[in-house]
Amino acid sequence: CGFHLRGNYDFTFSTLYIDFPQNSHTARLLKRLIRGMDLTKIVNNPKEAEVILSAISESTQKEVLSYNSQGRAREYSLYYNLEFTARTAQGKILIEPTKISLRRTMTYDDSQALSKENEEIMLYKDMQSDMAQQILRRLAFIKLTEEDKHAASAPAAETEPAIPSTP
């Protein structure tokens, strides 16, 4: 029926810099997947990166989804929202700013508050790994052209001022 085992992602760029908030779990998972599949080299300096993936905004939200007839929260919706974009070191947009919002629902009861706290952590972790996978898939669709790479690999020429600055 036409299904074939997916080959390894082939990233068209050899270096990537991930500019996410410091302790972002999604960024850790994404790096783990990229290293695990050896898709590209993750660098710590944006200047050396052909592609810069940056998080514009990352937020979580917890809203009551349904109340029971005593007016007490019975289900919560947990949202994990991320807006990200990807560009070359020179600023050319490779992935337009994109918003992904994931949702998980969780039953709730006041007397199980502590256990629901742990469940919340589990569900957010699940959404973060789901987000990492979705970002990975979008990175695989980036088509970095040769001249992008050329521009990236010769940054020295552009940034150095031609005439030495007068003392």
Binding site: F3, R6, L65, S115, Q134, R138, F141
Partner: protein, 721 residues
């Protein structure tokens, strides 16, 4: 709430005039001495840099650089426009005066007529016996009439003395003085007043006032005059520093006439992180009495005012790969006599240590450990079912090690976990004082990813087929005498199918010898975005499950978990669905089911329809959830917007919550009406009507009660801030 405080620049652009600019005088006739005075007659026009003056006759005094104009005077300066029958203006200092003027300001198009206008230089304007309005045309729907109106355009604030506010020519408000923002910037000023009628408090009038204390912190106070109870003072302070942020919300009603005692509700959240790895936070709520939610829940506080009020504070320290947290948690319960709440345990204190590394030549390891004193007073313990009446200290440590293999077409993750637990109990129904438990867990998680080109509703996409298997083995250990502090049965779902322990928390380590099988198929758009996802999954138990939360609810032993069917995503860009079904084959009963669809054809146009069913299992009250929720937001006519939500409980065939809101958006004012009815306890429900008149440009962009709907209507877009 108004836009959250940020790093907004607070100094308005100064109106700078180019001192070098020449003055160009035109008229049908000019006589005089340029070094002194020039007299201009008929079709007079005087222009200099950003100032243009026209009129019938004029005198230009070179010495003072001042122009005097008589006869249908028009002055335009930095975007502000004035007409008058007489006027003079100093082109250097901007000072001048106009008799019988009309004006139209660049800032939020405010305009009006007056007896006299004094331009007092550096962007200040005094309007005497004049009107002020932001409505187009010369018959404004609303206008403010005052003996003196001082507009400080540098700070974008207007001060009116003895103003009277007219709406459709009917005076609706008079006060000795009033300030208002001249531009929509975050400026201090009165927010649109809200009138309300609630079944609990009768007539309510809320006139909030917003203090923009600094670019990154603000304070909103909302005095609320309740006919039946008295004057309640509410305040919300928000602040955002470069390494700290927080919100504090207070409602205080001194000697409530109905309950003749003070009533208050308080919620404060704060977090601060230092760059040496230390950070701390607190999240504290409190209320004066148990009936507070029945009497005072409002759209404003509904998200914070729960019956179970968390009070928690903690200190974190990162060092290297480790994070340690020392926190204390306590709960205040606003008891509902009809369906009482069992208090969760306090954690006074809890020390947590966690850390880990990834890809240490292929191996990931992670350790979580905590030492907690779970505590409840004797009186609280006695209220609990006997088998839960235990308290004391618990130490747990949970090292994990795994060797994940990720490839494009498959992944395989063997993992080993060790759950170590030691209890020193001071109270226990089984009069044991110390318990230790060490249980290993082994799991294998693997999956394949197949792909093919396919089309979905006419669009060519990539379809994946992802079979996944997850085997878990954990030996059995009798834990019936172990206390339950933070363990429970999580909601059934995809995430739960792939976690090793059937219970969350650390008090119950489920015996396991089970295999989860699941297949997911996704439709992926051209740019890699996931359009639609279908999943089917089930867990097979190769041996009976013998560990339970409590001995009472022994479920009949079943060899298969419930079947999970899920589908969510966008069928077509404007229609999305989110459905899941949990079906038990042995009992042939559905345990949970929800089908929700959303149709969002455009901005501020959406309809949600949802059926939610939840059979109660471990829940103590046996009240299942069987509801239909319909909600939406729709522009019903030119300038009219409607918002609504109904949640209807089938077993009790009554509505649990319904909200209707309307907003009429004229060019310079907005009228909002919101009717709301929701249960606040098993017998009490609160009916409330709120209406609000927002005069654009007069009041700050205020808190819009309809925005409280944002929480209950997925996809709701606030009509105006």
């Amino acid at each position: 709430a108004p836009t959250t405080p940020g790093k907004a620049k607070n100094t308005p652009p100064q109106h700078v005039e180019n001192p070098e600019a020449p003055t160009i005088l035109q008229a049908e006739q000019i006589t005089g001495r340029p070094a002194r005075d020039l007299y201009l007659d008929y079709e007079v026009e005087i222009e200099r840099d950003q100032t243009l003056i026209t009129g019938d006759h004029g005198i230009f005094r070179q010495e003072e650089n001042e122009a005097e104009i008589i006869g249908n005077v028009f002055i335009q300066r930095f975007g502000d426009q004035y007409t008058a029958d007489r006027g003079n203006l100093n082109l250097d200092t901007g000072e001048g005066s106009l008799t019988h003027p009309t004006y139209k300001l660049a800032a939020n198009k405010a305009r009006g007529t007056a007896n006299r206008i004094e331009l007092t230089g550096n962007d200040n304007t005094d309007i005497f016996k004049g009107t002020y309005s932001t409505c187009e045309g010369n018959d404004p729907d609303w206008y403010l009439k005052s003996s003196k109106l001082h507009l400080d355009n540098a700070r974008n604030v207007g001060y009116a003395t003895s103003p009277v506010l007219y709406f459709k020519d009917v005076p609706i408000l008079a006060s000795p003085a009033m300030t208002f923002p001249v531009t929509s910037e975050r400026k201090s000023g009165v927010l649109p007043p809200t009138m309300g009628m609630t079944s609990k408090n009768g007539l309510e009038v809320i006139v909030p006032y917003y203090f923009n204390l600094a670019p990154n912190y603000d304070l909103t106070i909302f005095p609320n005059l309740m006919a039946r109870r008295g004057l309640q003072l509410g305040a919300e302070a928000r602040y955002l520093g470069n390494n700290y942020s927080g919100t504090t919300y207070v409602e205080y009603l001194p000697n409530d006439r109905e309950a003749d005692r003070d009533r208050y509700f308080f919620s404060s959240r704060h977090q601060q992180a230092f760059n040496n790895g230390w950070s701390y936070y607190w999240n504290v709520k409190s209320a004066s009495d148990d009936n507070y939610p029945d009497d005072f829940s409002s759209p404003q506080n509904r998200s914070e005012l729960e019956r179970l009020l968390l009070r928690e504070g903690g200190i974190n320290k990162y060092f290297g790969i480790w994070k340690t947290t020392l926190r204390a948690t306590n709960y205040k319960v606003l008891q509902d006599v009809e369906s009482p709440i069992i208090r969760p345990f306090d954690r006074l204190p809890q020390l947590m240590i966690s850390g880990g590394q990834e890809d240490v030549n292929g191996i990931d390891w992670h350790l979580y450990s905590d030492l907690t004193r779970f505590w409840l007073s004797n009186s609280e313990l006695d209220k609990m079912p006997l088998q839960q009446q235990s308290r004391g200290n618990r130490f747990i440590m949970k090292p994990e090690i795994s060797y994940p293999i990720y490839r494009g077409g498959y992944f395989f993750t063997p993992k080993a976990i060790l759950n170590v637990a030691k209890y020193d109990l001071e109270e226990s129904p089984y009069d044991v004082t110390s318990l230790t438990r060490v249980l290993p867990t082994f799991s294998l998680d693997g999956g394949l990813i197949f792909e093919r080109d396919a089309s979905f509703f006419g669009e060519s996409m990539i379809q994946t087929l992802e079979p996944r298997l997850f085997y878990v083995y954990t030996p059995y250990k009798d834990q019936s005498e172990y206390p339950i502090f933070d363990s429970g049965e999580p909601s059934f779902g995809y995430a739960l199918l792939f976690t090793e322990n059937r219970f969350d928390g650390y008090d119950r380590i489920a015996d396991a010898n089970n295999l989860t099988a699941a297949v997911t198929t996704r439709f992926i758009e051209k740019d890699g975005a996931e359009r639609m996802r279908f999943t089917i999954g089930q867990r097979y138990y190769f041996s009976d499950q013998r560990v339970y939360l409590y001995n009472t609810n022994r479920d009949e032993s079943k060899n298969r978990s419930d079947l999970l069917l899920m589908a969510n995503g966008k069928i077509i860009p404007t229609v999305s669905i989110d459905t899941s079904l949990q079906y038990n084959q042995s009992t042939q009963k559905v345990y949970s089911a929800n089908f929700s669809t959303q149709w969002k054809p455009g901005r501020m146009k959406l309809l949600n329809a949802e059926y939610r069913y939840l059979r109660d299992t471990v829940d103590f009250y046996g009240n299942e959830l069987d509801q239909i929720n319909v909600s939406g937001q729709w522009p019903i006519a030119q300038r009219w917007y409607a918002v609504g939500q109904i949640s209807y409980s089938l077993p009790e065939n009554r509505t649990i919550e319904n909200i209707f809101g309307f907003e009429y958006n004229a060019d310079c004012w907005i009228f909002r009406l919101m009717a709301q009815r929701y249960a606040t306890s098993s017998i009490e429900s609160n009916t409330a009507f709120y209406f609000q008149l927002e005069l654009k440009g007069l009041s700050k962009l205020g808190t819009n009660p309809l925005n409280a709907l944002q929480r209950s209507i997925p996809g709701y877009e606030p009509l105006s801030p």
